[in-house]
Symmetry: D3
Subunit: 240 residues, 6 copies
């Protein structure tokens, strides 16, 4: 049995608070068990050089952790003077995942900035960031539509993310930190509301895995995603 | 009349939530009006080079803002690759203020890390950081005492901070952002529970000020500090 | 038909030159079509802090491109002053892949440095880096065994990597640059000689993909890996 | 008695040499006891982004120390790769102090660069920098007026700065290094020729201080400032 | 006798492979004994700020080593976060040497990027870089002329470089690493095909040297240069 | 005729002020015409890693310019965040030149720090730095000998440096800035008191130069060095 009597194929409790901050157009606090991330979405009227004069927009994401979000204090990347490999990897993943459901062509020459700041970490911070940012993004787009900046919502589908892993030979959904640190295999899956894959990243941390294991993990992730999509749909109160 | 019918000599509503995070020994969310800061206190068993083999401890502070804590998105200092002048100035102030009431000699060769992360900014983030961090620090020290790391509480007095300013010729206590940006004079005052000064920083933003103005500002700050000390005393539930 | 009359499920020509450089204990030039990477393996008698006094070893990888390896000159990361996100991502992948087949416990407190320097890029530089580095690593381990630094070869299995993708609706093995830049889905797969997965990274660049597509891609990658393992086995001339 | 039979309320000898360097339009060497600072003022025909197309000018200051200005060699900030907190704090103070008496609106879209380089340090380098830079600034403005770049002198009043402190319970004016390092309270005061405050920064280094102490320190600083203003007036030979 | 029965006034074997890489317009692999450098020349349609709107072009050079080019692994400058003094010195020398024979005025507002990447180092990497880059540069200029970007070849003469040194009291031409590390005097000479000097850099590593020694070194270098010019002429197959 | 009726083979006036600063053991202000450099020498009880436990010492040099030392303000390297190529080149030259006459073996495990800070630049800052630092170094060594840190003076000979150049076809000694900027050939020569070379660096800025020119330049430099050695001897008042 997992902590809090959780089943192997059960998500931790997911709670999304919309309009968490005063300034950004879209902002949520997402809590997945003890993992807590503030996700914001904001628009700036500029695009990176490769899109200038293209009429198209862009979406980019940044990710960081508070120093005391983890058990051991982690040094600020501003103090170290550069962004580390793990941070780069995560923020690139968040950006790709949200761009995959966004209609960049209809954004105009604007850039959406997604900021994911982990307040408290207990495993699954990158997947929670994706799931939460999607809600902040929809809120931003709704405001843009209200103000007439875009005519239709520039979004094609829901997107959310979840981890699966193999711990002590058992397939588990949505790993918390203590499970993650003991996992033999660790996989992050990003999927659309329609149930298609945007990203599959599976890593054998200790023991290589076979084709069947891969299939089972992907299937379990799919079940988690369906529940996360429901949570998003409910909190957003109707059609995106 | 100020926003929310606030009087000239009235603080904004102050709310301090203790044990806000799971991992650090001391952690609070302090809300002063719309300004929200997470303050944490954590101990590490090391000291800076100049204290090695001295038997004494140290306390240091770091300060940062979420990119969307402000109206305009502010670039992460990790992305810029270095910490800016304003951040340096603020975190040095926080550190000095808390060291002034801490008995560093009885800490042993340990360093207290204070982290102040501004979630939402509406003026007075540095003074809220000091007021909130003090509570987190006491919580850390109480845990250290419980565990027998120190015999007595290594703290000598309360410390809190508040801003005063001159806006349109009027003396105001605890400026919010909109007031601060119009102020002719801006002063931050850090005081102990006993009503003595730890730091006085007054700046003529537009118009130099005379001796009487200085006296009046310092007096008004003192009244604000007395109320903040009460808030701290109440939330800490008895003797520090 | 693909360039050079290549079939959809056909690898580009793979050529591995051992002992390419004079100084490092293991060094190869791997050529996969027009992609050319120098891979070296070298031992240093030190470990990262988290392994000190553990008796265990470590393996780390670095990856870079010559400025003119690509069609457009890419700026040196030494000139930019930091390593970019893509580089971080790739060198972390190379390191994880090789560690997965290395017996770090029997290395002693030594670190293996893998360096992958792309001389010429035409798609698949990260997968070529993994496939080539494996050969350099075996050469290093053979020299270590000869010199009695380790008693048995600290390696458990072969490892190699290949890309698969969906271009114009067609499933293709081992994408070259021109194909990669048009791909709807792009997947990198790292597998052992025993046919198990070490890493699966699939990304929908444009169009989300379904379960069947995932299965087909993974299966096609497996066929590529089997051929790469044969190439490695042959060039290494017998048992690893 | 203080060193060199100095009284408690007595400044060290102040010597200002104008036109100390050949290239900049304004340049002085200021010597306050053994503290020696080269201060220069130069004009560049550009403004920071927030002032473009505003018709207004700007003034900014930079501060540094020679490595051997202090007793122990201090590492160059160019070698460390970034500017430290103390430097940031000081150069922001110098900039604010001079801007407070400068008519930025009548500068046109030009920026004044103030550079303060400490050749030898013996306490009070930041206050000497302000006092000396003022003279360099007036020299620059006089040349600008001669050349017809501005019609009237864009300066409103004198500005100078001095430190006061409490050492062994005694109130002292203009601390030298040895006194400063033993001070319980340390205050820097920046005032105009008219005797009004631009900046008051008091810090309890060891012992919090009361209202009376604050009043006495501010009063003593005022007396020091009056003498510094006289020195400036004399060296500048007449009306600013 | 030197290694490989080389005479004191004899160059190591020099081999230049043209069109070594696929993408850049000019690219060679130069091998001087065991020293191997990839040199490329590429054109970009921009110039540094000081040449904008001048109608003139520029040539700049960058130099780097693979980490395992040397016996001991040398840390990547991208990882260190900055370019070291030795690299700066070498790439400035390469740039100056090639600019001295290039007609920058007839390049238009274009910049030639020379990249020298040392694959394997055995002494004389900077001189090999100059000798090799010259060939890559001519190949670039020939392509520019073919495409009509310039009417005549913007080059005035050949340029190549060689080292001489004093080892154990003997004057030696073209030092390899082992000799270089024992040399009392070390000199790098850059000359034109016409036999005139572009750069002479002689350093007494251990023992100061007299006028006669200087004359003899310069004379010996001249003989080496004549042979290198022949090698360049032959590989370029006719008139530059 | 040159400025100030100077002859072609005439040095500018050289003035060296010893004990220019209070803190360092050796410090001079050297003035060569309008070029002014503060040179200091200081000892620290540590050596770089490659000399630990060798019993030998080291000497290293740093060089910088004040922002307003030049006609156009040059940006601080601390603000740029790194040291530029020119600075690297110069400080390496200064270090090599002084090490060549220093007996590092008898220094013990100590490092001499030479700091050269250009207060005002008018050509020849690197050569003035070498000539001035030598005097500061002797003063440091004399103090070390007095204190018994070393038994004999760890110095073997005088060292000084001078520039020569070809301007409008004429050979000139000791170029000032205006001449240097028009020079076709520019050479810096470092020599010992015994008249032997430590460093010869000649660069054809515009026009390659022949063997005779080289000989003439070197001869003229030698004459300049003899005079500089006399100046050093006189100011040092007797035997080094």
């Amino acid at each position: 049995m997992r902590k809090n009597r959780r089943h192997e194929d059960e998500l931790r409790e997911v709670k999304i608070t919309r309009n968490y901050l005063k300034h950004p157009q879209g902002s949520v606090l997402i809590e997945v068990g003890d993992t807590k991330v503030i996700c914001t979405a904001a628009l700036e009227a500029k695009v990176p050089p490769f899109l200038r004069n293209s009429g198209k927009g862009w979406l980019t994401a940044e990710y960081a952790m508070l120093p005391m979000a983890t058990q051991e204090r982690n040094q600020r990347e501003s103090v170290r003077g550069h962004i580390g490999g793990r941070t780069h990897e995560i923020q690139r993943l968040i950006g790709r995942s949200l761009r995959a459901v966004t209609d960049l062509d209809s954004l105009g020459e604007n850039t959406v900035y997604i900021d994911c700041d982990v307040i408290q970490a207990d495993g699954g911070t990158r997947t929670a960031s994706i799931t939460g940012s999607f809600v902040a993004l929809v809120d931003l787009f709704r405001k843009m539509k209200e103000k007439g900046i875009c005519e239709t919502m520039p979004i094609r589908d829901y997107v959310s993310a979840v981890s699966v892993g193999v711990v002590d030979g058992q397939l588990l959904l949505d790993l918390e930190y203590e499970e993650d640190s003991r996992a033999d295999v660790d996989m992050n899956v990003v999927m659309t509301g329609a149930g298609e894959f945007i990203e599959v990243q599976g890593t054998a941390e200790r023991v290589p895995f076979g084709r069947d294991r891969l299939t089972a993990m992907v299937e379990l992730a799919g079940r988690g995603i369906r529940k996360l999509t429901e949570v998003q749909r409910e909190i957003l109160g109707g059609q995106i």
